[in-house]
């Protein structure tokens, strides 16, 4: 299955309900979707639910679309819409920072890194639009054009959001970075 493009796999999934095609798409997209859920929602439990729902919707969507050019963007759009709904539904609408950092279910080697923890924290402090653009750019590797199409905003707006997100994170982490440079 690895020789097929995302679009071909999606078509196979539609035509044959191919389990292999879905598995291959899952292998290609799951990291992107999971990163988006984790870094945009911030809550592991919420991310877990949205992640699962995203792939169920992706599989079901194959019934409705004859073909799809950019499966990754489409999948992330599903994920984004689910995340927005989840945020609306949850009264808080804000990141539960403590839950994210100290959730015992998240056993990641990377979380031991103080720098990475601080970046995660800084991202949680970003406005949602900046954070979303930053995550799509840095974590999911989408191009600015793909992000603008996905979010339905201008290309320049995407660039500005990503730029400001980077600057904001840098400002938040500046004391730590300066301390690091002194060491």
């Amino acid at each position: 299955m690895s020789e097929y493009s995302d679009s071909e796999l999606y078509a196979l999934m539609r035509a044959e309900h191919s389990e292999d095609a879905f598995g291959e798409l899952y292998a290609r997209l799951s990291a992107n979707v999971f990163a988006y859920c984790m870094r945009v929602l911030g809550s592991y439990d919420q991310a877990h639910d949205i992640f699962q729902e995203t792939f169920l919707r992706l599989y079901q969507s194959a019934e409705r679309h004859a073909e799809l050019e950019n499966v990754r963007s489409y999948t992330l759009t599903i994920c984004r819409n689910l995340c927005l709904n989840e945020k609306k539904r949850s009264a808080a609408g804000a990141v539960e920072f403590d839950e994210l950092l100290y959730n015992p279910g998240v056993t990641r080697e990377a979380d031991r890194s103080e720098m990475m923890q601080l970046i995660t924290m800084a991202m949680e402090l970003l406005p949602h639009d900046m954070r979303e653009a930053f995550v799509l750019r840095e974590y999911d590797g989408l191009t600015y054009i793909e992000i603008s199409e996905m979010l339905n905003i201008k290309l320049d707006t995407v660039k500005v959001r990503v730029f400001r997100a980077r600057q904001k994170i840098k400002e938040i982490l500046e004391p730590y970075l300066n301390e690091l440079s002194k060491d």
Partner: protein, 463 residues
């Protein structure tokens, strides 16, 4: 400053215009604050990359997704979402599966070739050549003693052997245009069977010729010529090395046979038959052929030194933990060796290949200690020595140990291998073993090492 920050942003995105690059780099060279910002952005970017790689859906979540759709959960290695221990083991096993299948396929091909109908057919037709050549009478000839060894066939004093090769006498083909075969080619059970078929054909031919000889005898009697002695002295051919048997008599010489005695028929119209014959056995040569025929195919005599080309793969895991992916190539984890087998136990050669090595090292830059992690793919080469311990009993398995010393573009490399070589038949052999590798490299006058442990597998062709 904002402009410069934008340029840094564009540079990190890979979208900085080429005509802006000199301005940015020039500013970086003189502006300490800008350099600081650049380093900070790099540090943030590096941390984000590490975070991104660590963010993989856990295995239970993958299982939940697939079971929700009524699917079986995929293998860990097939889905990026399954991290952790199984994520390491399964890809490793998947890598191992390919060489195992390759080895099985190679064994199958070898067996198919050695027992193919073509081979059997040509073997069955070979006695005709021997017989027909025997009909070209020669009173002074050399016969091979292997004819009495495994096939129990009759050796004829008058038989002409145009090719002294023992293998051809046993299995030489008259109708097969492929012609003579060398000793090394007759190593399989199929060839032994072919030799037996050849012997049977010779026996049949002997019976026919005996009848013809009887007719000739009658004609001679009728012409009052001295009859041919119908009971020649049998000659036993002892399997003694370096022995030579020569017999000259006035009567035909035949070798003892369980089936028949071979007597050459007199040509029709010839009234006198010259019966002085000399039969010489080059037993040194022929005994090798006998041994080749009667020994199992796995214990064939192999001349040394011999040249061998070996291709093998590696499934080693780095003992250095890094969070960066391989910079792999399609030819990664593959090595090719050119080996000269000096004796059954000793071999030397050279080997080159391509592998990735995880590297973690620290160094100072502008007063800062920076930790580097990388996993570059590099070509390596080296000289190797292999010691083979001899076959395990009468099997085709031979344990071996091998050491390689070489280098890469990063530094010296050492490799120790212990494994087993399987030589089923013919020139092909297969290896499987465990291996430890250490790459040493230097950064800022400090040495670091990158050790790896794993398995190796491959096949070799001997020439």
């Amino acid at each position: 400053m904002v402009q410069h920050s934008t340029w840094i942003n564009d540079l990190l995105d890979g979208e900085l215009n080429t005509h802006d690059e000199p301005s940015l780099f020039g500013e970086l060279s003189v502006n300490a604050d800008l350099r600081t910002e650049f380093k900070q952005q790099l540090a943030i970017r590096s941390a984000v990359q590490h975070d991104r790689m660590a963010l993989v859906p856990p295995a239970h979540l993958t299982k939940t997704v697939f079971s929700g759709l009524g699917f079986a959960a995929p293998m860990a290695g097939a889905a990026a979402g399954t991290a952790g221990g199984s994520g390491f083991i399964v890809p490793w096993l998947m890598k191992l599966g390919l060489p195992i299948l390759s080895a099985a396929a190679a064994v199958g091909v070898t067996m198919a070739v050695s027992s193919s109908p073509d081979n059997m057919q040509s073997a069955n037709t070979r006695p005709n050549q021997t017989t027909s050549s025997s009909e070209t009478a020669s009173s002074n000839q050399t016969a091979s003693s292997n004819q009495t060894a495994s096939s129990n066939q009759t050796a004829s004093p008058n038989q002409t052997s145009e090719n002294n090769s023992p293998s051809q006498n046993l299995s030489g083909s008259g109708t097969d245009a492929q012609g003579a075969r060398t000793d090394s080619e007759i190593r399989s059970t199929a060839d032994v069977q072919a030799a037996e078929a050849a012997a049977e054909a010779l026996r049949r031919e002997n019976r026919r010729l005996r009848g013809a000889l009887a007719n000739a005898q009658n004609e001679l009697d009728a012409a009052n010529e001295p009859p041919v002695d119908p009971s020649p002295n049998p000659v036993m051919i002892p399997p003694v090395k370096n022995a030579s048997i020569s017999k000259t008599s006035n009567s035909p010489v035949t070798a003892v046979n369980d089936d028949a005695q071979y007597e050459r028929p007199a040509p029709m119209g010839v009234s006198t038959v010259a019966l002085t014959n000399t039969m010489t056995f080059d037993n040194t040569r022929d005994l090798q052929s006998i041994e080749t025929q009667i020994m199992p195919a796995t214990m064939v005599y192999t001349p040394y030194p011999s040249f061998m080309v070996q291709v093998r793969g590696f499934t080693a895991s780095s003992l250095t933990d890094v969070n960066v992916p391989d910079q792999g190539n399609w030819y990664q984890d593959v090595g090719i060796a050119f080996i000269n087998e000096l004796s059954p136990n000793h071999a030397v050669g050279i080997e080159l290949g391509s592998e990735s090595f995880a590297q973690v090292f620290e160094g100072g830059r502008n007063g800062q200690t920076i930790r580097y992690e990388q996993r570059p793919n590099t070509m390596w080469w080296g000289a190797l020595y292999r010691y083979s311990f001899g076959s395990l009993g009468k099997t085709a398995f031979t344990p071996f140990a091998q050491a390689l010393a070489g280098g890469t573009q990063y530094g010296p490399l050492g490799r120790l291998t212990g494994g087993i070589q399987y030589s089923p038949t013919g020139p092909l052999s297969f290896i499987l073993g465990f291996e430890g590798t250490v790459l040493a490299y230097k950064f800022q006058d400090q040495w670091f090492t990158s050790p790896k442990l794993g398995m190796t597998y491959g096949m070799a062709v001997r020439f």
